[in-house]
Amino acid sequence: MTFVAKPKLHHPTLPQNALCYTRRDYEGKISTLCAGCGHDSISAAIIQACWELSLEPHRLAKLSGIGCSSKTPDYFLGQSHGFNTVHGRMPSVLTGANLANRELIYLGVSGDGDSASIGMGQFVHAIRRGVNMTYIVENNGVYGLTKGQFSATADQGSTSKRGVVNADSPIDLVGLALQLGATYVGRSFSGDKAQLVPLIKGALTHRGAAFLDVISPCVAFNNHAGSTKSYEYVRAHNDAVNRLDVIPPRAEIAVDYAAGETVDVEQHDGSRLRLHKIDASYDARDRIAAMNYVQQHQARGEVVTGLLYVEAEAEDLHAHLNTVATPFNRLEAAELSPGAAALARINAGFR
């Protein structure tokens, strides 16, 4: 029950970040999702990532659509403004919000029904516009809130809890994001916090459209044998290409890895993405190669995870639209109205 208040007591030894905030300061209301739901792990990873980055919670806006995943923004970052929009339409609302105030960090949380079915159009267009955002799909292959219907990301041949076989081809959101020009693309697993937290940190500090597909098993409706989105299946088929460290700006850089095993990518804010390669042949800076790799491995039933693609010097929608640095929501009549004298000239042109 979300209106049950959480106790505000902090353990005195909880570690603090640069803002003197503990992880508790990044929490939200108590989750109402099922015990063991992958989404709660993702919420915890978001909390951890924001705490580690020492983000000011109120400088982040969290938006979502409708569904189990879209309920989660209420369960983290209680000091951030949140917006639970309409089904499948979070991307457009986030785009508008981003246009209104470019200074905030925008986190969009969605599900596979929300983004791959009803909101497919908005998902692809927000990605191709390069909206500066972190877009997380909590992907469980199933409609949870309406009790277990297949979603569009369910693999062909996988079975529902009742044994129905899914005949339709799956939509691969990572493949779409890569093809549509997302400048930071990753996939992870809700059960692998060590991999997920840095991926979220990298996405939050990335300028441009950052997309994370996080497989997040639904314990109520899609965690059985025959599902390809179960804990067991993903653990058995997880094919991580790399491990990521996000190194904050101005941090001392200690080189303790052999050349060829790590790649450093410097981001616009001076932070570094340090990629430790697991598959030595994988280059996360090559979009086409990433698309090939992901497709080939997926065809073998593997779930490719890690930071799959990054373009550090990406441009965002504001750059494309050449907007002023001042957030629009601070501009007033003096800056926006051309004035009566200009209107007199405009009138003269209409005679």
Partner: protein, 625 residues
């Protein structure tokens, strides 16, 4: 049919004779370049100080289908459609028969006489003026496209001689239009004089219809409603425009772009103080507007009926979550694709009650481009003040036709009304914040912009039920509190929307009429026509919804009030009946919905018949007593 036969059998009627008061209609093929020539004609009469009101009647097509341009010339200043045509410029063989049939008895037909036509193709009760335009063009131009294009300016030249339109006014306009393009200017001037010379040398001139210099235009401007509404958005401080192309609203977004490029680029940095996104559909358009409004920027979208249909879910969210949204709906003929290039007022109910669930929305109803400008800017203020969607219901007739109207005005002292926004200072000082709490008794709560304060004022926005502190709640009393407050807020809007305008007849009137939007100019003329017949009618122009109490008082003060609209189902009337709970019999409908703008004659005939019947009934009752 009987009357028609009688007319044709009788001696040909005398040629129509009128100075500064006639209707001329150009029948063209679209894509042939006629539009700019026709506009030139209309503007040249304006420059002579004579009010004109032109209307494009065009197809949903780029090239090859029939298109018309009807110009009302009227020194008294009637700007609505009168009905009937005095002079037809028939340049389209496809529509010849229908075009000829429209000409008033005694009226004039102007046509290209290059190819002889059989007598049977003409009417005996009209004056026929033939100018061999194609032949003249062929003699003077070799390029096929030039032969086509210059035919248009050539008939303007011929008309200038026939109607005594001042050639200097036309030459001046041409010079303005082709400033810096001297070759084009000279070619156009030549074509103009070729047409003019032909009439002066070969035909009786002038004809019975003439234009004389007058002083009927004054300071007024000549502009279309979409351009004016776009300027209203620029002046009103809109920074985000998200839209999807749809006739007849696209030119509004394009005009917004044009004026932003001119007036909203920071001279120091070259950066834009605006963002225009052509969205993937109308759902995304309204979604972006909702997101921007939530985050404190002034945002609008412009669309037409089909777009409104798609936006419904978001409109409900914005109503319930209380987010400022401005929607300019340039209405067209519906339902479905309907008549996409014809005009109607048929989105009134769809907008007033848009979305599932219990909703009511604020509507602003402009009558002309001046009000499009004022109401667009006002809508941005009202949306912020009321934290709700606000609709400006324009239509194709206002939006896409140039109209003579009052100059646009802006007071530099005007500040934007950003509504109830709690600041970081107020939060820091400990002012209580309940996002959905009615603190001031007007139903309007306070809001905060995201990012305002590190630890206070954050809230979770949702379309789901919640308590006054924005906490999720499925409790009945919380839901009812909220819905009642929204109703109370709507009542607050009643006195914030533009007030209705009352016009009382010179003598006490038993009957009244309510009208709105683009019906306005035809209505003004219809009242005068009825007065000439001794029929008195009080009128009320409704300019906003929720309706002011004076609208109810007006209805109650008359035996019956005719509600004049341009839709089939009497939508505003339904709104009046529903909102005031009045007897439908008190508000009979007068409806015009064939896609063409309503005419003064139509209104005068429809209401006149009923007023005469009512008068006769009263007289007979009095006689019986």
């Amino acid at each position: 049919m009987a009357t028609v036969r009688e007319e044709t059998a009788a001696a040909a009627p005398a040629p129509l004779s009128a100075v500064n008061d006639f209707v001329i209609k150009f029948a063209n093929v679209n894509g042939s370049g006629s539009a700019s020539a026709n506009e030139l004609f209309a503007k040249s009469i304006l420059r002579m100080g004579v009010p004109v009101s032109p209307r494009n009647i065009f197809p949903s097509n780029i090239q090859g289908l029939p298109t018309w341009y009807e110009v009302r010339v009227n020194e008294r200043g009637w700007l609505g459609r009168r009905g009937g045509v005095d002079l037809m410029v028939a340049m389209n063989p496809q529509t010849w028969d229908a075009d000829l049939a429209e000409i008033e008895p005694g009226g004039y037909l102007f046509y290209d006489s290059t190819k002889p036509l059989p007598r049977s193709k003409f009417r005996s009760d009209i004056q026929v003026i033939g100018v061999p335009l194609t032949q003249i063009c062929s003699e003077h131009y070799t390029v096929a496209r030039e032969r086509q294009l210059f035919k248009n300016i050539m008939y303007i030249g011929a008309l200038s001689a026939l109607l005594e339109v001042d050639p200097d006014a036309i030459e001046k306009l041409l010079a303005e239009q082709y400033r810096g393009k001297e070759k084009l200017l000279d070619a156009n001037k030549q074509a103009f004089h070729l047409g003019r010379r032909y009439v002066l040398d070969n035909l009786p001139h002038p004809i019975g219809l003439r234009v004389r210099h007058a002083d009927g235009v004054g300071e007024r401007i000549f502009v279309d409603g979409n351009t004016a509404a776009a300027l209203g958005c620029v002046y009103g401080g809109a920074t985000v425009c998200a839209w999807y192309p749809i006739t007849p609203s696209s030119s509004l977004a394009e005009a917004f772009q044009k004026y932003c490029m001119k007036y909203r680029v920071d001279p120091a940095t070259g950066a834009n103080k605006f963002a225009i996104v052509q969205a993937e559909d109308e759902i995304a358009s309204i979604g972006m507007v909702v997101g921007a409004g939530w985050n404190g920027a002034r945002a609008f979208t412009t669309t037409s009926g089909p777009g409104i249909s798609l936006m419904n879910e978001f409109i409900g969210l914005a109503y319930f979550a209380e987010i400022p949204v401005t929607i300019i709906d340039v209405q067209r003929g519906g339902p479905s694709t309907g008549m996409p290039t014809r005009t109607q007022q048929s989105d009134v109910l769809a907008c007033a009650y848009a979305s599932h669930g219990d909703t009511k929305h604020v509507l602003l109803l402009p009558e002309d481009p001046t009000e499009c400008f004022e109401f667009a800017a006002a809508a941005l203020d009202l949306a912020d003040r009321l934290q709700t969607p606000v609709f400006v219901l324009s239509d194709l007739d206002i939006g896409m036709n140039q109209r003579l109207c009052a100059p646009l005005a802006w007071d530099d002292a005007r500040v934007y009304d950003r509504g109830k926004v709690m600041t970081a200072e107020e939060l820091e000082a400990g002012k209580e914040f309940g996002r959905y709490k009615d603190v001031d008794g007007d139903g309007i709560p306070y809001r905060t912009y995201p990012g305002t304060h590190p630890t206070r004022g954050a809230y979770f926005t949702r379309g789901t039920s919640r308590d006054p502190y924005a906490r999720y709640s499925e409790r009945g009393p919380d839901y009812v509190y909220n819905m009642e407050r929204l109703l109370h807020k709507f009542d607050t809007a009643r006195n914030l929307v533009p007030a209705p305008l009352l016009r009382s007849a010179a003598t006490p009137a038993r009957f009244g009429a309510i009208y709105y939007g683009s019906t306005s100019p035809a209505m003004a003329e219809a009242i005068a026509l009825l007065e000439q017949e001794g029929l008195a009618l009080d009128t009320l122009r409704v300019r906003g919804f929720p309706f002011a109490d004076s609208v109810r008082a007006f209805i109650e003060a008359h035996e019956a009030v005719y509600v004049v609209e341009q839709n089939r189902d009497a939508q505003l009337r339904s709104l009046l009946v529903n909102e005031f709970g009045i007897d439908p019999a008190r508000v009979p409908a007068v409806l015009h919905y064939d896609g063409t703008p309503i005419t003064a004659r139509f209104i005068a005939r429809a209401i006149g018949e009923r007023l005469r019947t009512a008068d006769a009934a009263q007289t007979s009752r009095a006689g019986a007593r």
